[in-house]
């Protein structure tokens, strides 16, 4: 084992605050893509890191900026960084000069903490305060109506407050206020033993339990140079693709619900239920929890016969997707709804099926392979139109690819260990882990000292896609809103953390 692992798969580059804007501009000009930004503290010095994808199967670029707590905002150059900077402002006490929207994001107007939660001196006390309206652009005029919808909305849905300014059916402006559910998950990791904190990763986003746990485990395994056995790598693919399967069936159930296709909706939710029941029989957990661990899996799984177990679900699922695709009343509502241009998708950081439906051909499973994905064959579906129809087509093909991956992975299982032996190293290590979840790219960055976590950063796919989503709502109409939202397939828990 090497002495001190620092960020794996990264080309690190130290830069100064003065050259930050120029370097970022060069990266964008070279076609590179910013993945996330986060701050940390090293012996009282603020470090801000920018993770950038330079291309497929080449190392990431990691820009590191050692600075005082004030630095220039990149939001005007790299719009997707706007939210990351506001998060660092709210949680880290940093200040970004020249930010085009310097308003609170994670900690709402009206709420405060005695000290910044992830600030120089660490958290103290508890978040407190009372509701205050969000900072909003003013929309005035004859007939303009304002609707604050939430934080508690109709039906069994996650908490969020959506503000619409509209005239009749036409939406002038839309502003989602999220982070009501902010639980301070990143800070919850701090102080935990790194090998014991998987349970927290599993609870960042319930329907993304595998994606989160896997990205977390891979980050720690990279930090500690642990080789995961081949059988565990294949089983990890199986868990991740089962998660994709039930999430995608849920997606189609929900999408059909918004187009009032009742049987189509019920069929999607029933298929989701059946996959969850298979998951429980296989693993003991409907959410595939309590299995992933640093070094592999906590116990072996008998997944060799998965193909026969899933047979009916696969056949009925294919018939279901075909039927949806032949239903004019359903497709009519999707075509041309909620268009996201390729440029906006890139600039604002769209990810997963949302990005792929707008022509961005990206998938971490292929571009930066992990687990056993480099040994398996699969296609990455891409569409160009960027409407709800394209998003649903990408999901449908992605569901088919998930089934193909499940068949391949279960067919290739060979007997062997599922958990690597390792000793927890002393000193400081840093690691990066990532997964392509059903909703897109998920990153974990971990810094560990003497076996205990000091800083964990989570970049969830919904954090990226919630940033993008409003762009497809402004200027559209109220009737399409629910369909458009369902076509994005967002969660709020992962975004809020």
């Amino acid at each position: 084992m090497s002495a001190a692992m620092t960020y794996n798969d990264c080309e690190r580059r130290q830069i100064s605050a003065a050259e930050l804007t120029a370097v970022a501009t060069d990266c964008i000009a070279a076609g590179m893509r910013f993945q996330m930004a986060w701050h940390d503290w090293e012996e009282g010095v603020c470090v801000v890191r920018y993770l950038i994808s330079q291309g497929n199967r080449v190392p990431f670029l990691l820009l590191e900026l050692r600075t005082d707590e004030t630095l220039p905002s990149l939001a005007a150059v790299v719009p997707l960084l706007g939210w990351y900077e506001r998060e660092m402002q709210d949680l880290g006490g940093l200040h970004f000069t020249g930010h085009p929207e310097p308003y609170p994001l994670v900690i709402h107007e009206g709420f405060s903490l005695p000290r910044p939660a992830l600030g120089r001196e660490g958290p103290e006390g508890h978040l407190s305060g009372a509701y205050a309206p969000p900072t909003m652009p003013e929309v005035r005029g004859d007939q303009v109506q304002d609707l604050y919808w939430g934080p508690i909305r109709a039906d069994v849905v996650e908490t969020g407050e959506f503000h619409f300014s509209y005239i009749g059916e036409a939406i002038l402006h839309y502003h989602p206020r999220l982070f009501f559910k902010h639980r301070g998950m990143e800070a919850r990791f701090a102080g935990q033993r790194a090998e014991a904190a998987v349970f927290l990763a599993e609870r960042v986003s319930g329907v993304g339990s595998v994606g989160h746990a896997l990205a977390y485990c891979q980050a720690v395994e990279s930090a500690w140079s642990i080789e995961v056995p081949a059988r565990a790598q294949l089983l990890r693919v199986i868990l991740a693709e089962l998660e994709r399967l039930y999430n995608h069936f849920h997606y189609f159930g929900l999408l059909a619900k918004t187009t009032t296709l009742k049987v189509g909706s019920a069929t999607g939710f029933l298929l989701e239920e059946r996959v969850k029941q298979v998951a429980a029989q296989l693993t003991g957990s409907r959410f595939l929890r309590s299995l992933l661990t640093v070094g592999g899996l906590r116990r072996d799984l008998q997944a060799e016969h998965l193909a026969s177990v899933l047979e009916n679900i696969i056949d009925e699922g294919e018939a279901y997707l075909t039927r949806l695709h032949q239903t004019a009343s359903h497709l009519d509502r999707l075509m041309g709804t909620g268009i996201l241009s390729k440029e906006a998708a890139f600039d604002q950081g769209a990810t997963g099926p949302v990005a792929r439906a707008s022509g961005l051909d990206r998938d971490l499973r292929r571009d930066h392979p992990y687990a056993a994905y480099s040994h398996l064959r699969f296609n990455v579906p891409v569409r160009e139109k960027g409407d709800a129809m394209a998003r649903s087509e990408v999901r449908a093909d992605s569901l088919r690819e998930a089934i193909a991956l499940l068949m391949q992975a279960s067919g290739r299982l060979k007997a062997g260990p599922v958990r690597a032996e390792y000793t927890v190293p002393q000193g400081q290590q840093e690691g990066l882990g990532w997964t392509e979840t059903p909703r897109g790219s998920l990153y974990y960055s971990v810094r560990i000292r003497d076996g205990r976590l000091e800083r964990v950063k989570i970049k969830s796919p919904s954090f990226s896609n919630w940033r993008v989503f409003p762009l497809t709502v402004h200027g559209t109409n109220m009737m399409d809103y629910a369909i458009n939202e369902a076509s994005f397939g967002l969660t709020i828990a992962g975004c809020d953390r």
Binding site: F111, L113, A117, P123, G125, H126, L127, S128, G129, A130, Y131, I152, R153, A154, V156, V157, E158, T159, F180, K181, H182, R183, G184, A187, R188, A196, F199, L200, R203, V204, G206, V207, S209, K262, V263, G264, A266, T267, F269, L270, E272, E273, K276, Q277, A280, Q281, T283, G284, S285, R286, F287, R289, S290, R298, R323, Q326, T327, T491, A493, G494
Partner: protein, 264 residues
């Protein structure tokens, strides 16, 4: 005939008739670990050290097990050297009194369960629920919305979700209650007509675990609302949710007393 109507009719009924008969759909789902104190070594602290949520603590040489903090992670089962903690399928953990989730050697007899207020007869076969997400991980929402899928088909039991708290008999709360959700949650409760009931759904809502203790997580519904049924589980599966709802309506018996499963 329209194709969807035809395929729907051809597929036939998908709904289970559980709890009358038929499958509960939870084959293989692990529940709360069972504790056998007789197998326990008094000088051993292994399970308490392994438990990430403080559901197991050791005080004066004896373990205290609080299922209200259990997230079903099975770590205690894996780590216990004596086999005193064993995996089980005990997931129907809804109880009327919070104390019944804490393991006690001496049970106080079945009358202890009857302290919950009697549910009006008129509610028993028609219940309307207002759900509030007070900071969950979305696992609970995933399982609650599964209640409306064709397999569980909650409507068959006369139980419905309603958008308006004005029409709701039951407040179903998930999540540890984060600071910004405290006011909206209490406002929802205030808006409900009497008699009104509360179901603390999932371990977060029961005790705040594992989200309590941080700067942003809450402590669940304790001391916030008068809870009628406490249902730990991470998340509680749809059958556990149905059991808790029917327990509330006095249509199913409580399974857990003093932390003992099957003692109800």
């Amino acid at each position: 005939m329209p194709v969807w109507t035809w395929t729907g009719l051809k597929a036939g009924k998908a709904a289970t008739r559980w709890p009358q008969r038929g499958p509960d759909g939870q084959e293989g789902v692990l529940g709360m670990p069972r504790w056998d104190p007789a197998a326990c070594r008094s000088d051993c602290n292994t399970c308490a050290a392994a438990c990430p949520t403080g559901a197991i603590t050791v005080a004066n040489g004896t373990a205290v097990v609080d299922y209200g903090r259990c997230i079903v992670c099975q770590r205690c089962v894996e780590d216990c050297p004596e086999g005193a903690m064993t995996s089980s399928y005990d997931w129907a953990f809804g109880v009327r009194r919070r104390e019944d989730l804490i393991w006690t050697a001496a049970l106080d007899g079945p009358e202890g369960q009857q302290v919950g207020k009697r549910v009006a007869r008129s509610l028993r076969r028609s219940l309307h629920i207002r759900h509030v997400d007070a900071g969950s991980c979305n696992g609970c929402e995933s399982e609650i919305s599964a209640l409306d899928n064709p397999f569980y088909n909650l409507h068959r039991l006369g139980i419905f979700f309603t958008p308006s708290p004005r029409f709701a008999d039951l407040l179903m709360v998930t999540g540890p209650v984060t600071a910004p959700m405290r006011e909206p949650l209490l406002a929802t409760w205030e808006a409900m007509p009497e008699p009104r009931l509360v179901l603390a759904t999932g371990t977060c809502a029961v005790s705040g675990a594992p989200m309590d203790g941080g700067y942003a997580g809450g402590h669940g519904l304790n001391e916030l609302l008068p809870v009628d049924v406490w249902l730990p589980g991470c998340p509680p599966n749809p059958a556990a949710l149905i059991h808790a709802l029917l327990l509330l309506l006095e249509r199913m018996p409580q399974q857990v007393q003093g932390g003992h499963y099957g003692a109800g």
